[in-house]
């Protein structure tokens, strides 16, 4: 039943033009960056910057909007003898598959064509995980409230917090406590933000030489090792699973 719901949602989303526009936007950005510069590494750096901003934003806003737009469909499904777990998971699978599809077409394909390398693959994987975690967050934001405007507002706040404010706070924290050995604490703090986790995984591929200097070497040692990569992947998965569990908990008990 879960997959049936997912299928309906995928077809519904594919009919809309918003996702098509998103795909095109990503594809145009990536291709033009690669075309404009002969240096592939520089292209990857620019794409990282763009990707870490746009992908979470579109994922969270689109998923939230879609959730509220299909609210009546949800109400209809709830009246049927289908478990709420299946309903929400079906929605999740449907929405995330379609947004991932857009990501694959818009980002993965250009990267595979122009810059197929370990760095490229890391970017594809982290981008995909980032998409999924922000859709999870979108579900959490949507289930927490009933009001569409509030939901979207909350989604935007979440994005704003993770994309910009969080790093600002980290910088402030570093300024205040710069005299203390913060290396280990930083690893813990960074894992509180899925965007930072994604960024660091990519960074390890792009700026290896800078990371080898001063304190960077320590991070390089940790995140560069098999254990560190496993650690950051698991954390990214947690960022997908935990908001989703929270959303499910709310959704199961919610009076629609």
């Amino acid at each position: 039943m879960m997959f049936k719901i997912a299928k309906y949602i995928i077809f519904d989303i594919l009919k809309s033009k918003v996702l098509l526009a998103y795909t095109l936007l990503l594809a145009i950005i990536c291709t033009s960056i690669f075309m404009a510069d002969a240096d592939v590494t520089k292209g990857l750096v620019s794409i990282t910057t763009v990707m870490l901003i746009i992908v979470p934003l579109v994922s969270i806003v689109y998923a939230t909007t879609y959730y509220f737009n299909a609210y009546e469909f949800t109400e209809l499904l709830v009246s049927q003898p289908i478990s709420r777990l299946h309903i929400l998971m079906g929605k999740y699978i449907g929405i995330s598959t379609s947004i991932l599809l857009a990501f694959v077409l818009g980002v993965c394909v250009p990267i595979a064509v122009f810059a197929f390398s370990t760095t490229g693959l890391t970017m594809m994987a982290t981008g995909a995980l980032l998409t999924l975690s922000f859709i999870s967050l979108a579900f959490w934001a949507s289930t927490i409230t009933r009001d569409k405007a509030k939901g979207i507002g909350l989604a935007l706040m979440i994005w704003f917090y993770f994309a910009i404010i969080f790093d600002g706070l980290v910088l402030l924290f570093l300024f205040l406590f710069g005299d203390y050995p913060l290396e280990k604490a930083m690893i813990a703090i960074i894992s509180l933000n899925p965007i930072d986790l994604a960024r660091i995984l990519i960074l390890l591929q792009l700026d290896i030489s800078a990371l080898m200097g001063y304190t960077g070497a320590l991070y390089q040692q940790f995140f560069g090792s098999g254990l560190g990569i496993a650690f950051s992947l698991i954390l990214q998965l947690l960022w997908i699973v935990i908001p989703m569990i929270l959303a499910l908990k709310i959704f199961k008990k919610k009076d629609l």
Partner: protein, 410 residues
């Protein structure tokens, strides 16, 4: 007839003087030591292939010593292998190995002391404490040798070690597994070219108090601490490659107290720091390529009047960083891949200056832990703001005429 006799008289002593002595494991003379004892100045000793023990064989006569088929001179970790004290000696085509290691004395594979016009060529020096050790000498040629150290840190001296010498040529050598690849102290007017120094424990090239030397077409790759040059004047380093020297406080090229020197047409690729300059004066850094380094150039505030002209800075995490707010060095006509200006009159030169020191580089200077925020949105934003309205970064460091396109053929 008379003429013939005269000619004969001229030649016979010549033939007598320049004898050839053959050393072979199964021959009449079975060790180099005996051969040297028998020889006179100007003789040639030919050593046939085989294994010979050589416990500090002293060469105190003008001899040409040639190895055929790489005979092995083995010091068995007991002594030095060869010591040359005579002028006009040539040692060619040997495998010299297993010199003693020691904390009190610098045992070497081949030692040259107080000599001149000596050529050491086509030898393989394996597992020696020091490979070739030259002291108090002049006009020495060290060509086409291969120095492979023991690759054990405690048992490694320098590959090619020179002390208080002048007019030395070091060409086409390969040094690996030693402490310092090539080490100079008080060496003047020497030429070092086409050497490859890699995977040494400390520096690929290390020199101090060595003025007027020229380094060309060398490659220094993946050494423990890169290349360090200190307290020298009038150095010329051109067409070298500094590559893959990685780690904290490891530099492609470290310059300390260097003055009136020229560094041009070099390639700095994938180093943690490409060039590090401390207390340097009047250095011209031109036409170099800086690719994929963490920091392309780190120039401390106590460096003055250095010129950075017509270099390429491509894909470095940071182009330039410094520790102070005032910097008296000059940047001109460089290509910076991070430059975002425009060129309205299409003369190939950007119309607005480029500031190679970013705000984030300054932050990193104070809080190294902030490396974790590299390439985050907030950092990019702050850099953009700082570039348009500079307040924290040193105002003096700017390239007024940045190139729009990279320099070709560097």
């Amino acid at each position: 007839m008379r003429v013939l006799l005269l000619v004969l008289c001229l030649f016979i002593p010549e033939m007598l003087i320049s004898r050839t002595i053959v050393v072979a494991p199964a021959g009449k003379i079975t060790s180099l030591k005996n051969a040297v004892a028998l020889a006179k100045d100007g003789d040639t000793i030919i050593v046939k292939a085989g294994k010979y023990n050589s416990f500090n064989t002293l060469i105190n006569k003008q001899l040409t010593i040639l190895g055929q088929g790489y005979p092995v001179l083995d010091a068995g970790f007991k002594e030095e292998c060869l010591t040359i004290t005579a002028h006009h000696v040539k040692v060619d085509g040997f495998i010299v190995k297993n010199s003693k290691t020691g904390a009190m004395r610098d045992y070497a594979g081949i030692r040259l002391h107080h000599t001149a016009y000596v050529t050491i060529s086509n030898n393989k020096l394996l597992h020696n404490f020091f490979g070739i050790y030259v002291s108090d000498s002049r006009n020495i040629q060290i060509l086409n040798n291969e120095c492979k150290g023991s690759a054990i840190q405690m048992e490694s001296g320098n590959g090619i070690h020179l002390w208080k010498s002048n007019h030395i040529t070091i060409k086409n050598n390969y040094v690996t597994g030693h402490r310092d690849g090539i080490y100079f102290e008080f060496v003047k007017a020497s030429l070092i070219h086409h050497n490859l120094s890699e995977k040494n424990f400390r520096y690929g090239l290390h020199f101090m108090f060595s003025d007027d030397d020229v380094y060309q077409y060398n490659t220094f790759k993946n050494n423990g601490s890169g290349v360090a040059v200190m307290y020298s004047k009038r150095i010329k380093m051109t067409n070298n490659v500094f590559k893959e020297n990685w780690g904290s406080s490891i530099y492609g090229l470290l310059l300390k107290d260097i003055s009136y020197s020229q560094i041009s047409n070099n390639n700095f690729i994938r180093n943690t720091t490409g060039v590090y300059m401390e207390a340097c004066e009047e250095i011209s850094i031109s036409k170099n390529n800086f690719n994929n380094n963490g920091w392309a150039i780190r120039v401390l505030a106590n460096c003055i009047n250095s010129k950075f002209i017509a270099n390429n800075f491509i894909a470095n995490s940071f182009d330039v960083s410094t520790n102070g707010t005032l910097n008296l060095n000059h940047f001109e006509h460089n290509y910076w891949d991070k430059y975002e200006g425009y060129d309205l009159n299409k003369n190939g030169i950007g119309d607005i200056p480029y500031r190679p020191i970013s705000l984030y580089a300054q932050i990193m200077e104070q809080i190294p832990q902030s490396v974790m925020l590299m390439r985050s949105f907030i950092i990019n934003l702050m850099d953009k703001v700082e570039r348009s309205i500079p307040s924290v970064t040193p105002e003096s460091v700017k390239d007024v005429q940045p190139k729009m396109k990279p320099w070709k053929n560097l």
